[in-house]
């Protein structure tokens, strides 16, 4: 009993950090509708800046002053990011900004590495709160008690700011209808900047205040990212009390998980989130998000047409060029081209559900990795020949997507995205922790293609046929009645339902289909590498595909392919440098700012301006 009480206290103390950071994320998302992936980076910066400040500011006063100062500093950094990176892309299609924030993550990672080095930093103990207190005989750090005591004040302060002050009224109004707020004479741009300052400052504060417990390291940005999204979603978007309850729930459960069921820790919060969302689709204290409430940003998508003779010719020429790679290029080039094609198919499958279906999935890696693991498991345990394994990969991934899709389909928008992320994470931790079956962290090795395809050249041709065939098939389905029904469900579910289309079923099947296509990519991947590791199921893998689809241009399939090829090639080229992240991050940010409709969309616009591409009437 005593132990349990002490554990609850530990959980509450951990919840403090989580709440501080998550409430900032919630504020930023609520008002600006930006899914800010860089929020974890702000948290990390808060920790490092706080650490540096504590080195120079002594004593108890210095400690707490450093914490505050770190918060303010990160707030200012948030403002700089908002003004320089996000302002130019507010008008871009929805969610496009998340690509920009992803670029910011990479930049901050390398900047932190340059400034503070790769070594983990041990946080200083808080002066005056160093010891422990015995509560019912169990030791409880004094600092934990301080954190537990502080959090309600922060919650109250924020709550007061949001519900009682004029600024709060504006923020809440902007959350509900930012256009209206703009029409009433509020300078939206500065309201956004202000909210970004506050939100980032909360993250910085969270990072600095947890220093005595956790220190600072270069992985903490990604480590907290998933948790804070989970907290915001469980609590309900935009609800501060909800975020607090969720933070406490997650932290306390986590402490118990560590003690009694260690293997559950990686996945516990995602299970909690999945359960909460299945019962309460908008989080514990969230309100229902009315679809289309916030309006479509950007101009409407253009009609699509089956390829004309010119486009067909271009595709044939490109294919011919690709077939020549092994003949004239090195085997290294063949391997690189194989990687690129596989990644392009993966990205194209995400585009199908994201672009045509309007369903943003944050967990598409589940089907890429899922397909790969299905193939690997079949080969390892059932001695399945490669040909059959390559067939089973999409079937397995499709089935997986069929099941996950069925659960996720009842949600929409960001909640849908988060639930897909939760399931992907679930799968990842399953693979990661089930050592005996999946090899866990060590992955599965020795999964090579059949003899007749053993060389990199012949495997390249297989990839070319299946990969490019898969992409062309995706394109064809987009032009089929099913693809049209999917777009109809996205464009106006009201009209679609009123004309006999079961929109949820169409989207569900499309989700399963996209999963199966990602499974083909996964199957090809595992045989090209001869091995598979849990990293292929990670959030980062899902984000790769997401970034690529947006970067290339979400409105066209070619965008996903062009984006996929560019990123994969770029990564291959620059990961040889020590500070490649900052390079890639800056390139991403520059592309985002220069080409707000993605590479393909913007290229087409430029082409129209110059008169190279026929312009459509009335659209400019």
């Amino acid at each position: 009993m005593e132990l349990i009480f002490a554990q609850v206290l530990t959980g509450l103390a951990n919840a403090a950090t989580l709440f501080l950071v998550a409430s900032g994320l919630s504020l930023i998302f609520g008002v600006t509708r930006i899914v800010n992936f860089a929020h974890g980076s702000f948290y990390m910066l808060g920790a490092f800046i706080g650490y540096s400040l504590m080195q120079v500011l002594p004593g108890m006063f210095g400690f707490w002053f450093s914490v505050l100062l770190a918060g303010l500093a990160v707030g200012v950094i948030g403002v700089i990011v908002e003004i320089c990176v996000l302002r130019p892309v507010y008008k871009a299609p929805e969610l496009f900004q998340l690509v920009a924030t992803f670029g910011v993550i990479l930049v901050i990672q390398d900047l932190a590495l340059l400034t503070w080095g790769a070594e983990d930093v041990l946080g200083p103990r808080a002066p005056g709160l160093k010891g422990i207190v015995r509560i019912f005989g169990e030791p409880v750090p004094k600092y934990d008690l301080a954190m537990i005591a502080i959090t309600p004040f922060v919650l109250f302060g924020l709550w007061y700011l949001i519900t009682k002050t004029r600024v709060g009224v504006l923020v809440r109004a902007a959350t509900q209808d930012r256009e209206m707020v703009g029409a009433l004479g509020v300078n939206q741009a500065w309201l956004f900047t202000g909210v970004f300052f506050l939100g980032s400052a909360m993250a910085g504060l969270g990072g600095a205040i947890q220093l005595p417990k956790g220190g600072a390291d270069l992985l903490m940005d990604f480590n907290i990212l998933a948790s804070i999204f989970v907290v915001v979603v469980i609590g309900g978007m935009g609800s501060l009390p909800g975020a607090y309850i969720a933070a406490v729930l997650i932290s306390v459960l986590n402490v118990f998980g560590v003690s009694y069921l260690p293997s559950s820790t990686l996945v516990l919060m995602f299970v909690v989130m999945a359960v909460v969302l299945m019962v309460k689709p908008y989080g514990l204290l969230g309100r229902e998000e009315v679809a289309g409430e916030h309006g479509q940003v950007g101009e409407p998508e253009r009609p699509i047409k089956p390829a004309g003779p010119k486009v067909r010719l271009a595709v044939v020429v490109l294919l011919a060029a690709l077939t020549l790679i092994p003949l004239f290029g090195s085997s290294f080039l063949s391997v690189l081209a194989t990687d690129i094609i596989i990644f392009c198919l993966f990205a194209a499958s995400l585009h199908f559900i994201l672009g045509l279906g309007g369903l943003v999935s944050f967990g598409h890696a589940a089907f890429f990795g899922g397909g790969a693991y299905v193939a690997a498991l079949m080969v390892s345990y059932a001695n399945t020949p490669m040909e059959l394994a390559l067939l089973l990969a999409p079937l397995g991934a499709g089935l997986l997507a069929f099941i996950i899709g069925w659960v996720c389909m009842r949600l929409t928008g960001v909640y849908f995205a988060m639930l897909t992320l939760a399931f992907a994470q679930l799968l990842w931790s399953l693979v990661f922790q089930w050592d005996e079956f999946t090899g866990g962290d060590d992955g599965m090795v020795d999964i090579w293609p059949a003899k007749w395809l053993a060389g990199s050249t012949s495997y390249f041709y297989l990839t070319l046929i299946l990969g490019v065939g898969g992409i062309l098939f995706l394109r064809h389905v987009a032009h089929s009645p099913f693809g049209y029904a999917l777009r109809a469900s996205r464009d106006s579910s009201r009209q679609a339902e009123a004309t006999g289309i079961n929109t949820k079923r169409v989207q569900w099947l499309a989700f399963a289909f996209a999963g199966a296509m990602a499974g083909i990519a996964g199957g090809l991947f595992v045989f090209s590498k001869g091995s598979i590791f849990p990293t292929e199921l990670e959030i980062a893998r899902s984000f790769d595909a997401l970034i690529v689809v947006f970067l290339g241009g979400v409105k066209t399939l070619s965008g996903a392919v062009v984006g996929g090829a560019s990123l994969e090639y770029l990564k291959d080229q620059i990961t040889r440098f020590e500070y490649w992240r900052i390079t890639l991050g800056i390139i991403i940010i520059v592309v985002v700012i220069l080409a707000p409709e993605g590479i393909v969309g913007t290229a087409r616009k430029v082409g129209e301006r110059l008169g190279w591409v026929r312009e459509q009437e009335g659209l400019r």
Partner: protein, 262 residues
């Protein structure tokens, strides 16, 4: 069940409460074959609530809806559509990413149960039928235009073409002329009336513009505070004292000389 003059739609004791507010109370009416029936009433009278219940978009509190003698109460909107009820929306709902004709083709593909096929090119399916429908609503030359750039009146006509895609026996039109210029209103309703006559369809529509109602409706129902207070021919309604009270607090709103064309 289809004797001459039989009811296509039969609504019995339809009611809806939102909490303690009784938005629609005990509404009874029927729509006869080939009839243009108008439902009018002040804002908040319960017209749209009625419509949404008829189309299955809103669960009812009590009552039954029969289509051609078949009980369709509580069915999903898409199922009701398959049974032959088309609808247009107060705020237009079309597919902005498609061309005009593709919008109509989509409805036709759904009607012919082809939405799950992945082999044919969608643009090649039911092209002629879609074109015929566009000709019916008078916009064949706009077939290849991008739906997102249509003028509002054209969107309304397009919606009508979409609603006709399943060859409906009944059309439900929620404020078909809202937001249109007066001349456009008359044109759209004249078009609807012509189509109704030609295809022998019944129409139930709500409307605020009395000119439109009196010019085109065969029969008029008046809803006030959720209750049906009058139901009769255009002339009956015009002279009904209860209706006049609802609309003008007693004054004579609909004087004959102002509406010669009625």
């Amino acid at each position: 069940m289809t004797e001459p003059d039989a009811a296509v739609l039969d609504v019995r004791n339809l009611s809806k409460s939102f909490g303690g507010i009784r938005a629609v109370q005990d509404v009874n009416f029927s729509v006869k074959k080939g009839e243009l029936l108008a439902m009018i009433g002040p804002n908040g009278a319960g017209k749209t609530t009625c419509f949404n219940m008829l189309m299955g978009q809103l669960p009812r509190t009590a009552g039954e809806v029969h289509l051609d003698g078949e009980n369709i109460t509580g069915l999903e909107p898409r199922t009701i559509w398959r049974k032959g009820v088309g609808r247009t929306f107060q705020i237009t709902a079309t597919y902005p990413s498609m061309t005009v004709i593709e919008n109509v083709q989509m409805a036709l593909m759904s009607h012919h149960k082809r939405i799950y096929s992945i082999l044919p090119f969608a643009t090649k399916l039911y092209h002629d039928e879609a074109m015929a429908l566009l000709e019916l609503v008078g916009m064949p030359e706009q077939a290849e235009r991008h739906c997102a750039i249509l003028a509002y009146g054209d969107l309304k006509r397009l919606e009508l073409a979409i609603a006709l895609g399943n060859g409906p026996k009944l059309l439900l039109m929620d404020e078909p002329t809202a937001g249109m210029a007066p001349t456009e209103r008359t044109k759209l309703m004249q078009l609807t009336a012509d189509i109704v006559r030609e295809k022998n369809i019944s129409v139930l529509f709500t409307e605020h513009d009395m000119d439109v109602v009196f010019a085109h409706a065969h029969r008029v129902m008046v809803l006030n505070r959720g209750e049906l207070i009058a139901n009769g021919s255009v002339n009956d309604i015009r002279n009904d004292s209860k209706v006049q009270e609802v609309y003008l607090g007693g004054g004579n709103l609909f004087s004959d000389d102002e509406h010669q064309h009625a």
